[in-house]
């Protein structure tokens, strides 16, 4: 059965009618092991197509070849939710013609669905696909689990190309994206490097400071009043966040509390919590490790969800709206609780919101977990370099030196104080750190806007300036 299979990416690009000035899209479930974006852009460049916008749910260092395409004017615009540090450093120097548009994991599908960011051709990396384009992330040598972020691309792009290294007989059952959305299928040798797609295991931190923060975090949840039957929870894959999940698991098992769902990018640790009975289900937009991939393939309680279902603010509802607690990170947080996850303290791009703003907006309790200082720099500042998530959506900051509660959540502050936790004013926390580090000088920034940070509702929230050239 030939179906929609075409001979090469180049052929698919031509058939899809890609022309100068159009937009191509990619999802990031293959993470830092993704070959597809580079393969497609190489083919596009060879075809002489110029002035493209790349709309990718996230970009990683493996995508550094994009820099050549930028220099050669193949790529002149980028829309993404996250950009890792090596790529971010170059973008921060101002090499791209138009500013990067940063959205959130919920804002991206929302804007795609509403036609604000139309996609001409979507390229979907698929660990398994059949000749008609039914595809899944759960099977094959490049298995990545959920394909949640690829759904809006498949549903709304004018043309959809599925790229797989595992073409199976029709029909592939248990598909994520059905053939009804797919125009062409290309089979290549490899869509990614399994080592970069998912890590073998996710490690809980052994750093004593991280563990202290994690213990504080678990206690904040315990005494928040939200930890009861039906509790729902999301946490990141960082070491301290995972440790917090471990301590939370101990509390939930001790108190015999079963939550309704764990959400998010799912790690093996959340799978452990599901299997231990801490949750009735996992709702998974992206798998972080092999254990999560194995679980989503075999356990019916572990359910794949689309980016819209996860976090879109303009669809009828999203799971983040039902979330009780989320644990998030920060590179900086200011005394108004605004959080920066886009740049480092020097203003250089090294991340992005991902689902940060979406979960913070939706969750009843949004917790930032961060050390008081990193290297010589205090994390609490007067004004963050970039507002990634507005302070109105953040409830509490947990550090090793104390817990600061946003004044808007007085009830939480009273509960935590009554529980004997080390609660202090965020200004006091800032001063506490500055007594050790000193007050850092303001970093100068360049004149050029290199990125616009767009809120999940679609408004311009902040801009990121170029960094001055190093002398």
């Amino acid at each position: 059965m030939k179906g929609k299979v075409v001979g090469s990416i180049r052929e698919a690009v031509a058939l899809a009618g890609l022309k100068d000035g159009m937009t191509v899209s990619f999802h990031h479930h293959l993470r830092n092991g993704d070959y597809v974006l580079n393969l497609v852009m190489e083919a596009v460049a060879q075809l002489g197509i110029r002035d493209l916008t790349v709309n990718a749910s996230s970009l990683f260092d493996i995508h550094l070849p994009l820099l050549d395409h930028i220099q050669n004017h193949v790529v002149t615009g980028i829309q993404t939710d996250y950009m890792s540090a090596a790529l971010g450093r170059e973008i921060s120097r101002g090499i791209l013609e138009r500013p990067v548009e940063f959205r959130t994991h919920g804002g991206r599908p929302s804007d795609i669905a509403q036609g604000r960011t139309p996609i001409d051709v979507a390229f979907i990396a698929a660990p398994a696909a059949d000749p008609m384009g039914n595809c899944s992330g759960k099977y094959g040598k490049s298995a990545c689990g959920s394909l949640g972020y690829a759904y809006p691309d498949a549903m709304y792009a004018k043309k959809v190309v599925v790229i797989t290294d595992n073409l199976v007989d029709y029909p592939l059952l248990d598909w994520s994206i059905p053939e009804s959305y797919v125009d062409y299928v290309v089979c290549v040798e490899e869509i990614g490097n399994p080592k970069g797609i998912v890590s073998g295991t996710t490690q809980i931190t052994r750093d004593p400071v991280g563990l202290v923060m994690a213990q504080h975090a678990a206690k904040v949840i315990e005494y928040s009043g939200l930890l009861k039957e039906g509790f729902s929870f999301q946490t990141g894959a960082g070491g301290a966040s995972l440790a917090a999940a471990k301590f939370l698991k101990d509390i939930m098992l001790r108190e015999q509390i079963q939550g309704s769902f764990g959400l998010g990018g799912i790690t093996g640790y959340m799978v452990d919590m599901l299997q231990a009975g801490c949750f009735r289900s996992l709702l998974d937009v992206q798998c972080f490790d092999l254990k999560a991939v194995e679980s989503i393939r075999t356990d019916p309680r572990h359910q794949e969800i689309s980016a819209m279902h996860y976090a879109s603010p303009s669809h009828r509802s999203a799971v983040v709206d039902s979330l009780d607690v989320v644990i998030l990170g920060a590179t900086e947080i200011d005394t108004d609780f605004n959080v920066n996850v886009h740049t480092d303290s020097g203003g250089c791009i090294m991340g992005g919101s991902g689902g940060h703003s979406d979960t913070a907006a939706g969750a009843k309790l949004s917790m930032i977990i961060a050390p008081m200082f990193r290297a010589r720099l205090p994390i609490v500042t007067d004004h963050v370099t970039c507002v990634s998530t507005p302070g109105k959506d953040i409830d509490v900051l947990v550090t090793q030196g104390g817990i600061a509660v946003n004044e808007k959540n007085r009830e939480l502050k009273e509960r935590l104080t009554a529980a004997g936790l080390p609660v202090l004013d965020i200004h006091a926390l800032k001063e506490k750190a500055e007594r050790i580090t000193g007050k850092p000088r303001q970093m100068p920034h360049g004149d050029r806007v290199v990125a616009n940070v767009i809120s999940r509702e679609g408004a311009l929230q902040d801009v990121i300036y170029s960094v001055p050239d190093e002398e």
Partner: protein, 292 residues
């Protein structure tokens, strides 16, 4: 209240600046074994600055100086005493004379620097066979001695036996130290459990130390601190019982009764004393009752 005493290497800034956040009742800035001879001066300065600039409220500061058989210990004291540490931990204390020598120099230094006399306490680290045999004499050698402290790693080397997790080889030293310390009216701290990855092991080892009568336990890993604190804290049931004992005694006095019983057991002086200690600790942990 010193349930947990956490060793922090005196030459690692990152550990030192976070020392007060790690949950230990006391931190021990180590100038001895953790610091190589070439770094002794740097560590001294770092520890001095840490004590000067860092806020250690709610966490006592102990300094382990180098032994009196080394060329470093007097300089250690010169550097750290002006920062008013709570305690000085004196390694390889083997006799009352060792305490007296350190005490004499500390007293002189206090005078020279204009510090309050006798403000800093001495903790004798007992880690030789001779030290174990002299434990009571050491504990009562000076009013400055606040506690004995068992160091099992060096001790087992001196005893020429293997240090094990079960600790059969230090049973005698443990009970001897507890008895000597209590006889002299000072506190006594147990040796660290050295396998930082054995969560069950630390629990068992701390429970054993508590059962033998130790006041608290040292740790070389922040990861052990919470377990040690928990094991050495009175439980809510113990606290409730202590208050019940005190209330029963109060009522008995009011009614002019001599002997009283609670839950079918005679309340005698040791029970009352233990209840007092439990309540004092509960109050320090913020678990006390306002009306008591």
């Amino acid at each position: 209240m010193r349930r947990s005493l956490l060793f922090l290497p005196g030459n690692t800034p990152n550990m030192l600046i976070n020392g007060s956040c790690l949950g230990a009742d006391a931190v021990i800035f180590d100038l001895e074994d953790a610091v190589s001879p070439a770094e002794k001066d740097a560590a001294r300065i770092l520890v001095r600055n840490t004590m000067t600039y860092m806020d250690f409220r709610g966490c006592e500061r102990v300094v382990r100086i180098n032994g009196i058989d080394t060329p470093y210990w007097k300089e250690d004291l010169d550097e750290v005493l002006p920062c008013r540490p709570d305690l000085i931990l004196l390694p390889k204390t083997s006799s009352a004379a060792d305490i007296q020598e350190a005490d004499t120099y500390i007293t002189e230094t206090e005078k020279r620097l204009g510090l309050a006399a006798g403000a800093v306490g001495l903790v004798a680290l007992i880690e030789t066979a001779l030290g174990v045999e002299n434990a009571f004499a050491i504990a009562s050698a000076s009013p400055r001695v606040a506690a004995l402290f068992l160091g099992a790693e060096d001790l087992t080397a001196d005893l020429r036996c293997k240090r094990t997790k079960e600790g059969r080889e230090i049973e005698y030293a443990r009970t001897r130290l507890v008895t000597a310390a209590r006889a002299a009216g000072v506190d006594v701290y147990d040796t660290p459990f050295t396998d930082v990855n054995d969560d069950e092991g630390i629990e068992t080892d701390a429970a054993l130390a508590k059962a033998l009568g130790f006041t608290g336990k040292a740790s070389i890993s922040p990861r052990h601190v919470e377990t040690i604190n928990r094991v050495f804290s009175p439980s809510q049931a113990e606290i409730d019982y202590a208050y019940e004992v005190m209330e029963t005694i109060r009522l008995a006095k009011e009614q002019g009764k001599g002997a009283v019983a609670l839950r079918g057991k005679m309340i005698d002086a040791p029970i009352v004393e233990r209840a007092r200690q439990t309540i004092a600790m509960a109050q320090e942990m913020g678990l006390g009752r306002e009306d008591a």
